[in-house]
């Protein structure tokens, strides 16, 4: 007897392991965003320290769009989603499994990207580097939990993929602000990021809870 959550999670991980679609496309896209930003702003010295926090967050945000949409678009084919709606399991487990899988994919992308980023922007972390290990996962969770929820919501609309960024970005703004400011203050060592970490934590608790509660409503909307 395995729980539905584990079943969904293993299925998503297996699909990704065989195709490697999500991670590869996200990785390349994020790399492109990093290069585009450095072309657009030609960051040097202290300036590159200041903006790099924002660039890595925005790069992750843009890159995750395609993967989040794909996560549900895959279920639409062959009416898999309809089958899941009929299955006698709570939708929250399906949702949580998708969030965990996407969280893993986006984290892998960030881990691979980090060294590239340090090289391109000539960074040296002046604050406490271990705090990054707290900020980035928290920010990624905020992005992925909301993103998975709104991807499921927008996949039900006529324009599908187009709608996700339009409704996710405004909702995600406070978390993005906290993530950017926390990363920035760790990289420059200017100020204490504790407040922003707390804000991210609060945001995650509130929005993950509401997503879990409302996911069944979205899944069964008709």
């Amino acid at each position: 007897m395995t729980s539905p959550l584990l079943t969904h999670l293993v299925k998503d991980l297996r699909i990704e392991w065989r195709s490697r679609e999500a991670v590869n496309s996200m990785l390349f896209f994020a790399l492109l965003v990093v290069v585009l930003f450095s072309l657009a702003f030609s960051p040097r010295g202290a300036f590159s320290q200041e903006i790099s926090g924002g660039v890595i967050c925005v790069a992750t945000l843009f890159a995750s769009m395609s993967a989040l949409n794909q996560a549900w678009a895959r279920e639409i084919r062959h009416q898999v989603l309809d089958a899941q709606r009929m299955a006698p399991t709570p939708g929250a487990e399906l949702f949580l499994a998708k969030v965990l899988a996407n969280f893993l994919f986006v984290s892998i992308v960030q881990l691979v990207l980090a060294p590239v980023f340090l090289v391109f922007y000539n960074l040296h972390v002046q604050g406490q580097a271990w705090q990054l290990a707290l900020v980035l996962p928290l920010g990624t969770w905020a992005l992925v939990a909301n993103g998975t929820f709104f991807a499921a919501l927008s996949i039900r609309s006529r324009n599908r993929e187009l709608l996700l960024p339009l409704i996710l970005f405004p909702i995600f703004m406070p978390a993005l602000l906290a993530m950017v400011l926390a990363t920035g203050s760790i990289l420059t060592g200017d100020s204490d990021p504790t407040l922003w970490i707390k804000l991210l934590l609060g945001y995650n608790i509130i929005f993950t809870t509401v997503s879990l509660l409302l996911f069944d409503v979205v899944l069964h909307a008709e």
Binding site: M173, P174, I206, E222
Partner: protein, 233 residues
């Protein structure tokens, strides 16, 4: 009787707006510091007060729709019409506020815009409700109402967090320009004009809200009738 009441309400609203305009332009004195440009407050503040009220209407409508959509489908439709009307009229009032704000700021602060807590929060609020309206346009069929109600709730939850985030952000890095809002110590001669305009714009907003609600209800009924005809055909 109903027609008479509506006509009376429209007449009173128009009279209030004319009276408010008179108060703002001719009765209220110039501001000691800012001069004539200060009069924009009589449009700026009422617009935002109305916008926040109508967004609350939208939030309550969204909650109502989600809680009644199974047990009382008819109530749920009414709640959904309120949610839509509140969001649309709220966005219009919020746009008016966001337009008058920079016009005022340019003269009073010397800049069009600053990323301070209140301004950023309002802009994000506006963006959230525009995305709500986009969703309503893009999604089709009865599921759209459910999805929109979910987004309406998420959006309303986001507002206090955005506000806190920006307040902390700006208290850590004090902005060079802040102030110019009304708040402390407004001359009594100005308070009168402000309250009249507040009342007038609220009355106007409620009128538009009512019209928008009525139209949405009619459209819901037409859609329901067409669905029934399609079933019987």
């Amino acid at each position: 009787m109903k027609k008479f009441a509506i006509t009376l309400y429209v007449a009173v609203t128009l009279a209030l707006m004319a009276w408010g305009f008179y108060q703002a332009m001719y009765v209220a004195p110039n501001d000691a510091m800012q001069g004539e440009i200060f009069r924009i407050i009589y449009y700026h503040v009422p617009s935002f007060a109305a916008a926040f009220t109508f967004f609350s209407v939208s939030f309550l409508g969204s909650i109502g729709f989600l809680s009644w959509r199974r047990s009382h489908p008819n109530w749920a439709q009414i709640a959904d019409a309120w949610a839509l009307a509140g969001a649309e009229v709220g966005v219009v009032f919020c746009s008016v506020g966001l337009t008058t704000g920079p016009l005022w700021g340019r003269r009073a602060w010397g800049i069009w815009w600053t990323w301070d807590a209140r301004l950023t929060t309002t802009l994000v609020l506006w963006l959230i409700y525009v995305s709500y309206l986009l969703l309503r346009r893009f999604a089709a069929g009865p599921q759209m109402q459910t999805l929109a109600a979910v987004l309406g709730i998420f959006g309303a939850l986001d507002v206090p967090i955005v506000y806190m985030a920006n307040r902390w952000w700006r208290t850590q890095h004090p902005a060079p320009v802040f102030g110019g809002a009304s708040g402390s110590g407004m001359a009594p001669s100005m308070v009168g004009a402000l309250l009249w305009n507040m009342l007038a714009w609220f009355a106007w907003g409620v009128l538009i809200l009512g019209i928008r609600y009525h139209i949405e209800r009619q459209q819901q009924k037409i859609a329901a009738r067409e669905a029934e005809q399609a079933l019987n055909a």
